[in-house]
Structures are given as structure tokens and as C-alpha cells.
């Protein structure tokens, strides 16, 4: 299979890139693991479902319109329900080939797609806070709860509690309430004062009034529904035998210390954890793209130039994978990445590309100002560190605890890189391949060794970036699947 442009990820960035590229005549293949385009933010109900009022709020209007228009374009080929496993240089000598082979698990078989231009719009996923009990069934990423409600149309629990630092938890709590669920609380770690300080600046207020209005409406509805929203509190542990049944919450002192000994117990069977987000840069890294660390923007974010091109020729990046900034920024970065591809292919001259990119860059810079504020506001900082006990899993797949990591670092004085700690401890070697533990591990090593996160470095991302059944790889094309 061949395409002029391959886009991995059908979220806002991928959709916007696909739309622009296809409007300019390119044949595009868009790949996504989900069975419908939209990404996590516009995660659609399953095939054959009809939801009468789906994501009605006006802040979703632009994204939904890009989704609708990309979905109807003739020269976009959708390969959905497909997991991209990695990329290879297509030529026999990697040095001299400018073609990229994209290896895809389509569910039954492995497909190879060749292209000269690839955009990774692989998004992000919820940051998992590690605390005692975080692996109990019933504890979920808040984004995961949201996907059950808005896409699967199910209220996944009886009593919901949301704890974290990110305003997303207000939106999801509201969606759960509207769907008939019972939310017993939304707990923020920040002081209410600090939440307000972000909007004190009248310019910020004015520029992003739509977003503030939406949040205000959400808060108002939650208050009317009788949902207690508290500030300056943190979770301490989740309790339960086979599944979560209660959560211990404690206040945070003015100097930021969680008062673990004075906790209150909240009964709930579904805990939504909502701190920041982590970028999904595994595919870009497996392809050799350079990354740099950002604590606030999601860990190992991919470096890029002004046309969103990564350090690897032919590979561009767009959206959250360049640093978490939200759907609006992702749309603009997707457009910019597509314009960069069109420029490189010679479909657009440099003047035309610059002219088309100018308004995109202007909007992007505005959006980034807001995204920066939001990141600063929702960054949990040193809080998550306090929730760890020595027995808490850092690597949930292999059962490697914070204590195991400390021991490995203490006993092996020379080991100081993320990959070396992975090798000696098995952290990050399980099925999720380090997607949740790389972030806290990087921070833990940096702190322990008094080094910068960039010195520690990310886990080397290997092929396949998600586990794949070996029979799909060994299958010979002339045999039936």
C-alpha cells in the first residue's frame, strides 16, 4: 500500500492535517486505533448508535465541523481499528532512502504502508498518579470515565468521586450528573484563590471568554446538582478488597504538604483521577525523532521546527505529542503540519505556504498563551511524589514499586539513565511498555541523582510500540489469515 501522506491519529490534529492535505489534492491515509475518527476528545459513539445531542456545547463547534468535513473527503482513506506498530526506513540502506515503511496491525494481519511523508498526531493520555490503591478496579483515568459516558453511553458506576488538579474533572463530573450518575465530590488540590488568579487578568478573561463561560456554566450546573467541589485537598489512598469502595482524602497545608494523618473517608465505587496528561510520543521516538523533557506539557515531547517537522526527515508531528495544549492548538498544529508537507512536496510554493500559515500561527500563539496558563494551573508539581509509599507500584504491569526503584538506584551507584534503570529493574517492560511509569520514573531518577530529566533521558521506544500477536508477523501472505 502507498500514500502521499500518512497520518497517525484521527484526533483534532490528524483530522485538521488530513483536511488541508486532501483539499490540496494529496492522497491521504489516516490511521487510528479507534473504530471511528475523532480522537479522544471527539470520541464518537459506536457504529450503529445514534445520540441525539452529542457534545452540544459551542466550544466543540470547530472540532466537530473539521471532523464532519474530513469525514466526507474522497481522497482520505481511513484505516480505523488499526494499531501502528512502528516505522522502518523503506530502502535496503536506511541512509539513502527517503521512503518510510509504516507497519500496521489491522486486527487480523500486518500491513505495510509506504510513504514519503508521515505526520504523527498521536495525542496524549491521562497521567496516572501512583498512590496506594491506584491499581484497584474502580480507579480510572477521568478521561476514561468520560469516554464511557460520551462515547459508549454508559454511566460506569454508582457513586463517583473525582480527584486531581485539572479542570477536566469538572466537565466529566457534569457529564456524569447529566447522564444520571451520582457524583459525591470533585476535589482539587489547588487553593481556590490560585484557581481564580488565572482569570484575574482582564485580557486573559476577554480572549478566552468562551472557555471561561463554559467552565462557569459547568460549575453552576454542578452546584445545582448538589455536587460538593472542594479545594486544597488531595487523595491519600483508595481502599477496597476486590474493587475500590472508599477513598481517603486529606487537606493540603499552605506550604503544600498533604496532611495524611488527618484524612476523611469518602465512599465511592468509581474514582476518577485527573491530574495532567502525558504525551504519546512512543511512535515518534521509535522512529528516531528527538524529544525533550517537559514536566508540565506531558513528559517526553517531540521536538519540531516551525513547520512541525521532527528531527527525522519526512516525519512531522502535530497536536498533543508536541506538548499538551488542548484540541484548539491541535487543530492549528495539524493545519501547520499539513502546510509543511505541501511545501516540502512542492504543492505549495514558499510564499503561498507562508501566507496560508500566517493566520494559523497567529491563532496558535493565542491559544498557546491560554494553554500555558492552564498547564501551569493544573501541574501537580511535588504533590504526586507525596502520595507514593515504598509499596506503591510505579510500574503497574510488572509490579515494580517505588521502593524497588529506590533500592536499584541506591545499590547501583553508576546507573542514571531511564533506559538503564528500566533494564536493571524491569520497570516499563510490561504490556503498556512504560507509558505510565516513564514519567514518574524520569522524575524519580532526576531527583535521586540530582540530574536534569534530559540527562536521564526517555526509555528507548522499541518496535512494536504496542504488543502484537506473533502469528500476525509470521503469517505468510499466501496463506489464509
Amino acid at each position: 500500500m502507498d500514500a502521499e501522506l500518512v497520518i497517525v491519529g484521527a484526533g483534532p490534529a490528524g483530522l485538521a492535517a488530513a483536511e488541508i492535505a486532501s483539499v490540496h489534492g494529496l492522497n491521504v491515509i489516516v490511521l487510528d486505533e479507534q473504530t471511528k475518527p475523532g480522537g479522544q476528545i471527539f470520541r464518537q459513539p459506536p457504529e450503529g448508535f445514534r445520540v441525539h445531542s452529542w457534545m452540544p456545547d459551542s466550544i466543540y463547534r470547530e472540532g466537530k465541523s473539521v471532523l464532519a468535513s474530513a469525514s466526507t473527503r474522497k481522497n482520505i482513506r481511513w484505516l480505523l481499528g488499526s494499531t501502528v506498530l512502528g516505522t522502518f526506513a523503506a530502502g535496503s540502506n536506511g541512509e539513502n532512502s527517503n521512503r518510510i515503511k509504516v507497519v500496521v496491525d489491522t486486527g487480523v494481519l500486518i500491513e505495510e504502508i509506504q510513504t514519503e511523508h508521515l505526520i504523527f498526531a498521536t495525542g496524549c493520555h491521562d497521567m496516572a498518579a501512583a498512590f496506594p490503591g491506584w491499581n484497584l478496579p474502580g480507579v480510572m483515568a477521568t478521561g476514561g470515565i468520560q469516554a464511557f459516558v460520551k462515547s459508549q453511553q454508559i454511566v460506569p458506576g454508582e457513586r463517583f468521586l473525582f480527584v486531581g488538579t485539572h479542570p477536566l474533572q469538572l466537565i466529566v463530573a457534569d457529564q456524569v450528573c447529566q447522564a444520571g450518575g451520582h457524583v459525591v465530590g470533585v476535589v482539587f488540590a489547588q487553593q481556590f484563590k490560585r484557581m481564580l488568579s488565572i482569570i484575574r487578568n482582564p485580557f486573559t478573561m476577554l480572549r478566552f471568554s468562551g472557555k471561561f463561560l463554559f467552565l462557569a456554566k459547568t460549575l453552576y450546573r454542578l452546584r445545582n446538582a448538589g455536587v460538593p467541589v472542594s479545594f486544597q485537598e488531595s487523595l491519600v489512598r483508595a481502599n477496597g478488597d476486590l474493587q475500590v469502595s472508599s477513598i481517603d482524602i486529606a487537606s493540603i497545608s499552605l506550604d503544600g504538604i498533604v496532611q495524611k494523618n488527618e484524612s476523611r473517608r469518602v465512599e465511592a465505587d468509581r474514582l476518577g483521577v485527573c491530574y495532567n496528561f502525558l504525551v504519546s510520543s512512543e511512535l515518534a521516538r521509535q522512529s528516531g525523532a528527538e524529544c525533550e523533557w517537559s514536566s508540565q506539557a506531558g513528559g517526553w515531547i517531540v521536538r519540531h521546527n516551525q513547520w512541525m517537522q521532527s528531527s527525522v526527515p519526512g516525519i512531522s508531528v502535530a497536536g498533543e505529542v508536541t506538548g499538551v495544549a488542548g484540541a484548539d492548538a491541535a487543530l492549528e498544529e495539524g493545519r501547520l503540519a499539513a502546510l509543511g508537507v505541501l511545501l516540502k512536496k512542492g504543492v505549495l510554493g514558499s510564499t503561498a505556504a507562508a501566507r496560508l500559515a500566517e493566520p494559523v500561527r497567529r491563532r496558535l500563539s493565542n491559544i498557546n498563551a491560554f494553554a500555558g496558563l492552564l498547564r501551569e494551573l493544573s501541574y501537580p508539581g511535588n504533590l504526586l511524589n507525596q502520595l507514593l509509599s515504598d509499596e506503591t507500584n510505579i510500574c503497574k504491569c510488572e509490579g515494580i514499586t517505588a521502593g524497588d526503584i529506590k533500592k536499584a538506584l541506591a545499590e547501583n551507584s553508576c546507573i542514571s539513565s531511564g533506559s538503564a534503570v528500566k533494564l536493571i529493574s524491569r520497570t516499563g517492560m510490561g504490556l503498556c511498555q512504560g507509558r505510565y511509569c516513564n514519567y514518574p520514573l524520569t522524575k524519580a531518577i532526576a531527583e535521586y541523582r540530582e540530574a536534569s530529566e534530559n540527562e536521564v533521558g526517555p526509555f528507548t521506544a522499541q518496535f512494536p510500540v504496542k504488543p502484537v500477536l506473533i502469528k500476525k508477523i509470521t503469517h505468510k501472505p499466501d496463506e489464509p489469515a
Binding site: 536506511g94 541512509e95 553508576c414 539513565s417 533506559s419 504490556l431 522499541q462 506473533i470 509470521t474
Partner: protein, 401 residues
Amino acid sequence: MRNYDVAIIGGGVIGCASAYFLAKAGVSVAIIERGQLNAGASGRNAGSLHFQLEHRLIHNETHLKAQLPHLIPLTLAAIEQWNTLEDELSCDIGLSMSGGVMVAETSEQIRLLERKAKLENRYGLAVELLSAEETLARAPYLGETVQAALYCREEGHCNPRLLTPAFARKAEALGADFFTDTAVMGLDKVGAGWNVSSRIRPGEKASERLEIRAEKVLNASGAWAHEIAAMANIHLPIFPVALMMSVTEPVPVFLKHMVQHVGRKLSLKQVEDGNLLIGGGWSARLQQHAGKWISNAPAKLSLDALKSNLGVASEIVPAVNQLHLLRTWTGITGVTADQLPIVGQVDQTPGFYVAAGGSGFTFGPLYARLLSEEILTGLPSEALQPYSPARFGHVNMYMGN
């Protein structure tokens, strides 16, 4: 300037094990490693303990006959050492010596196994040729195409994640100094000893220097040993080759042997944690620039080679097909012109020792022990004599100091 008796270049299994044996004898040692410890072939190989002659060594019988008299005594010494290594290192290194089978699928391959068995037994390595039925009785996980197997009781595996760090910890406790993220940039023979000049964090602009004065230098830099040798004005015929390894998801233990193939490239084993490690010498691609290998760049994985490697594995052990592949990675090892390692002092540069070039995991701890004795006593090791750099003396006729 820091002073040491011995400077070891390379923080892999040979370097760290040598540091341990030397430090244990009271010698002051510095280990200089340009990256992290165990980051090269020592930590990336598949951990096989192969005591039978490997696939790569038995392509022609003349070769086989010439090698066996030297190899088997060393093999027996290695088996003896592995048997006591966990006690010596007083920690878990994931060691399992529960037997290995080298399988055959054709009558020609069976004949090769027969000849190999006869020779190996004659020189003292006990191996047992199993018929198809005996093979399946002992190894029920093998596929239907397997016709025979050569069984070696002592074969098995050790965890490459754990072995080198275990030696390093022991060496450090005995006073060895480790300098990681430190790249040797120059070696100068001054008087009877060596000045070793290195850069700490070589990739960064403001990297600091490390200056070491050592009486002796041990080059244990694996695939790149020829680059370090060049700093001592010596040619070392070691050639980097890139290989790939794969690991599956962990599953309950069902495969207790190390599995090899006499005619196809395969090594397969199940580790303590339940994962299967799949290798066998399938190549990856070294990165180059203008015809020169880039020595610090990871090798590139080849999808075709991966398909072939997993294909052989799943034909020999059909259950492999039902497992998920977790990761495939590449590593770079060194081979020599005659497939035998180069271990010993270089005649043209007294005080400059080498240990590199093949089977470094199975035999690394043994080379380290024997070479350490040689360094300590100044007397060439009898057992290592066939591996002496002297056999390549002609390329260094105009080199050295």
C-alpha cells in the same frame, strides 16, 4: 591525574567482571565506560549459555576439528565457573542451567549433530543425541518438524539484565572506581605505564576531562575494541556486527531448555519472569556515514529479518505464534577474522590487554578471570593461549610503541 594499577575500558560483562577479579586481588582499578554500564551487547544479548559448539562455528568440519581441542577445556572451565557464580556474586542473576537442545530437522542436519556429538564427547563435553521420540518426550513443546536433538545438560541461560550489574556492585564494594558517561579520547604510553585521557559527558559542550595514569590498560570495549586499540597505535581485527533480539509477553513456564538449531539461526528460552527471549543471530543494520561505522549509534532493526527470526522460532516451538511480541531490540557485538575471541596482552604494546570478540556472555566471566590472573602474575594464561592477539601479530608488525 588519578593513579590506578589497571584502567579498564568498557563497562560490559568482561570489563565489570575483570574489575571484580582484579579488585578482589587487591589491585586498584578504574572502569571507564562511555555510556551506562551494561548498555551494550552485555545487556542486550539473549543470555544464552551455549556450551555446545554454536551454529556459527560449525559450518565446516575442518574448522570444527581445529577448534574443539581448545574450546572444550575452556567450556568445561566455564561450566564450572557458572555453577558457582551465584554464590560468588551472592545475588540472583537469573541463572538456570536446566539443559539445552540443539535441534535438527533434516537427515543432513542429523548427520551434522552426530559428528558434532562424537567430537564433543571425545574431547570431554558430555552431550546426548536424542531421537525424534526422545526429543519430544523431553521437550514436548517442540514442533513436528524436529527430527532429533543434541542435548547438553549444563546449558541454559543467565539474565543479561542482572549479570553485569552484579559484577559491578561487587567490584565497587571492593574499591573499584567507575566512571560512566565518560569516553576515552586518548591513550599514551608514557614510561612503563599509560596516560588515559577521557571526556565526561562527551556529548555536551562543557564536558569535563578525566585524566588517569595506569600501569596497565584492559581494552574490554566489545565491538568497538578496534577503536580503542587504534588509540594505542594497534590494529585489532574486530568487526562490529549488529544483531536483533525479541521478547514475548510473560506466560506460565512451559519451556525449560535453551533451544538452538543446528542448521538455522535460532536461540529461544523462557526466563524466570515467564517471557520468551528469541534470538539466534539475525542481523540488524549498523549505521554508517560515508563508509565509516558510527560507533555510538544504535543499529537499525530490519523487519524482514524479524519476520524470519520469529518464523523459525514459531516453526520450532509452535506455541510462540500464540504469544504477543513485546519488544524487539538490536545490539552490536564484535566478531574476529577467525571467529575466535582475542584475549591477552598485545605483544607490540606491553601493558595493553584486550578481551573482546565473540561469545562474550557465556565465556565473558571466564575470560575475565583468566585474564585478570594474567595481568596480576604477568604470566600468559595457558588456557587462553589460542586466543592470544599474537595470531594477528603480522597486522601490527609496523605498529605499537
